[in-house]
Amino acid sequence: MQDFKRKLKAVRKTALFFGILSLLLTSLSKLMLRISMENESFVKSRNKNITGIQKEPKNTIDALILGDSLSYSAFSPMQLWEQQGITAYVCGQSGQKLQEAYYTLLTAIKSQTPKIVILETNMIFRDQKVVSSLQTTIIEEGSYRIPLFRYHDIWKPLLIGATYGEEMYKGFSLREAVVPYTKGEYMKKSTDKKEISEGVQYYMGKIIDLCKEKNIELLLAATPSPKNYNYRTHNALLNYADERGLKYLEMNLLQQEIGIDWNTDSLDKGDHLNLSGATKVTEYLGNYLRTNYKLSDHRKEAGYESWEKTGKEYSEKIKEKLR
């Protein structure tokens, strides 16, 4: 009996310890998240988009864009707004992995009810070894449940006033530098297929299931990038999209329709698109979304005044930059 009592006491003590610890972690998480959302410049570049989407007013984003750096170099939400009245947000991160995309989506749908998720497909081919993949999963799961892990170093700007400023519009990175791509045609027909690893397929499956559960359309989009895409990746994506019944937009085969000119539209020798390239890709995407999906035109609707205002500013800025 005494032994039982001692054990019960130990269990209670352990529960109390972890209870207080989780309370501390949760409270600090809320505090750090609030400071991050109030001070965008305190947040480091890679975390800016996942912070930004949480700042958007509830249920205002119709299109959510996931992906690595290709995503925020190619899709401009403010242009989509200006041309189609579609509200979109790019939740891409440099070198984003599928697990990160999944947890970003989970975070975003806490406050948003997007109609469509556009997944830039380059991260599908990002190689992940078993251990590093497990680590990413643990870190992302941890950061999703306890945001303190993601925003833990907010103390640095608070202490020394360091800031991480960047010109971003709803996740789009505005970069107008031009370094042309000169190596010619890269989508040479072939029957080869690039492999999609099992780990990636697992997390793709989770994203697909989540979208189905929340009634969200999922579109796979490969943006023009000679450095990252070729016919092997195209065959792999086409096959995967067929297998899973997904829509797939291969923009690397639509360069003429989009109007890509590699002398003016490349940021860094065919890796990322620059502002000029992004403008063309976004215009094409806008028309594609308008034709293929039932997305509302929110222009002139009440509650979207800030979009109107930022849209005007954005248009002015783009005109000036592309002059």
Binding site: L24, L28, V131, Q135, I139, L148, R150, W155, L159, A162
Partner: protein
């Protein structure tokens, strides 16, 4: 998968703990052994076979020695008094041959995998200098993780059996577990068979207090590694990789920074390792004991990487000190050279192989050999100048227990340590010499505060975190050194104070740790040795 990664801390370790607890007590050793091999396989792949082979070989050599001892006893029972001495001598010789064979094979494999390319490169250079062609080709050799650590443990086991300090182990699983306990595989501590084998084998059930003590020790390790070492890595990397761009105080600061980084990183990972062991109720030997409180180089090595020092002392220093050559020198010296010179000579005979092996053990680089010889020279100077030092103290009426003298001694030891670590970290011996000499060019302390250090990848906040972190570690060091509070006394503190300390430690790691966006996960330094 290193010990400080989330995969180890939040997945591997908890899963092994769970598997261990649900396994019947009698076969818990199998769970631990399987965990060791899975861990080794995850890092080294197929090379885990070397760890398995080393375990089987050690067992075989031990059993062979046991069989020889048994045969010897049997023959002695039926032998006359005159024959006994001869039989004993014969069997001792056989045992020695078996032991030598056992050690040679392990060292040959270690030597081939770790040092072949170093040897080939130097031989090729020598051939080229002598005008000969046909250089030895370098080979793509892969090293199993932890080979330098578990090879020493295996040799220690064989020698202990030979010396009859321990009985030979009949169960190969017990030796395999002693060499392949997963927290120890990567970086040690290098334990002796008598220290850990039995407790590992016991399969003690998990206990709440052990889990708590282990977890806190792990967090303390993470504090040192993630708050201090991983930040200093950035500065150290920037200066040592571009050493020609820096001189004076900046290079001196780099030497200090690397020493602190290495201590925080290695002792931090040892805390994680020892904490992991503690969770299973296993007490692993300590590897550090406040090394920066040492008053001389010799004491420093009794406090720094203790288990390596003890290993060399036990299996190299003592056998050489007791060898024929040492005895002959002793006799000759006492007759012709006097007490002091005999002591100097015998110290040189015994210390030279110790420090040559110490340098080489760290890796196939001239700078490591230099590092070993550096400490050999310093220790020898200390022994040679001891009478002079004692005389000076006597003339100046200085008591070596006086505070200012202790401070002076500690300061001198710090300089010795920093210079040693500068050569240890430098990209080769030439770079080390260049860096050392560059300290004396344009030495200007202003360089440390004029913003130069802020261009190396860290901001002011990072330096503040390093500084505060070091102060916390130093204060805890003082508390431990003065025996004000060890882990046991910590357990006896009243609950709110103890919990407050625990929460403070955990939150410090979570908030101030150098992880996530903007930081690089830094591999364990000693895992590379």
């Amino acid at each position: 998968m290193s010990y400080h990664t989330s995969a180890y801390l939040f997945l591997f370790l908890p899963l092994v703990l769970l598997a261990y607890q649900i396994t019947p007590k009698k076969v818990r050793w199998v769970t631990l052994l399987a965990a060791g091999y899975v861990f080794s396989w995850m890092v080294s792949g197929k090379l885990v076979i070397h760890l398995i082979g080393t375990s089987l070989w050690s067992h075989y050599i031990g059993v062979w020695q046991a069989w020889l001892k048994l045969r010897c006893h049997m023959e002695l029972e039926h032998a006359s008094k005159e024959e006994c001495a001869n039989i004993k001598k014969n069997y001792k010789k056989k045992e020695r041959t078996v032991l030598a064979g056992g050690i040679i094979l392990l060292l040959a494999i270690l030597g081939y995998l770790k040092y072949y390319n170093f040897f080939a490169q130097n031989m090729s250079q020598l051939s080229a200098t002598l005008g000969r062609r046909e250089p030895l080709q370098a080979k793509a050799l892969l090293l199993p993780i932890g080979i330098s650590f578990y090879t020493l443990q295996a040799i220690g086991y064989m020698v202990d059996v030979y010396w009859e300090k321990i009985p030979p182990e009949r169960h190969p699983g017990k030796i395999a577990l002693f060499l392949g306990f997963f927290p120890q595989i990567m970086e040690g501590p290098i334990s002796m068979y008598s220290q850990t084998a039995d407790t590992l084998w016991k399969g003690t059930s998990l206990k709440g207090e052990h889990l708590a003590q282990g977890s806190i020790r792990i967090f303390w390790g993470l504090f040192k590694k993630m708050i201090i070492a991983d930040r200093l890595y950035v500065v150290v990397q920037a200066i040592f990789e571009n050493y020609s761009q820096y001189k004076g105080a900046v290079v001196a600061a780099a030497a200090v920074a690397y020493t602190v980084q290495l201590y925080m990183e290695f002792s931090g990972s040892m805390d994680i390792v020892i904490g992991s062991g503690r969770m299973f109720g296993i007490i692993l030997p300590e590897n550090f004991r406040q090394p920066f409180f040492a008053k001389n180089a010799s004491e420093f090595w009794r406090r720094w990487h203790i288990t390596l020092g003890v290993w060399f002392k036990t299996y190299v220093f003592y056998p050489v000190s007791m060898s024929g050559i040492a005895k002959r020198w002793n006799r000759f010296g006492r007759k012709h050279l006097g007490k002091h010179l005999t002591k100097v000579g015998i110290s040189a005979i015994a210390l030279f192989p110790v420090w040559l092996c110490n340098g080489l053990w760290h890796g196939p680089r001239w700078s490591y050999i230099f590092y070993g010889m550096y400490y050999f020279s310093i220790l020898m100077c200390g022994i040679m100048l001891e009478p002079v030092r004692n005389k000076c103290l006597e003339i100046l009426h200085i008591n070596d227990q006086m505070f200012f003298w202790k401070i002076l001694q500690t300061g001198k030891t710090w300089i010795i340590i920093f210079v040693g670590e500068l050569f240890f970290r430098a990209n080769g011996l030439r770079a080390g010499i260049h860096m050392f000499l560059s300290i004396f060019r344009d030495f200007d302390l202003n360089k440390l505060v004029d913003g130069t250090l802020l261009n190396l990848g860290l901001d002011q906040a990072d330096f503040i975190a390093i500084g505060v972190g070091c102060v916390v570690v130093a204060l805890y060091g003082i508390v431990r050194e003065r025996n004000l509070m060890g882990e046991r006394k910590l357990q006896k503190l009243c609950l709110p104070v103890r919990w407050a300390l625990y929460y403070g430690l955990i939150l410090a790691v979570v908030i101030f740790g150098a992880y996530g966006v903007g930081y690089q996960q830094v591999d364990l330094i000693y895992a590379g040795f």
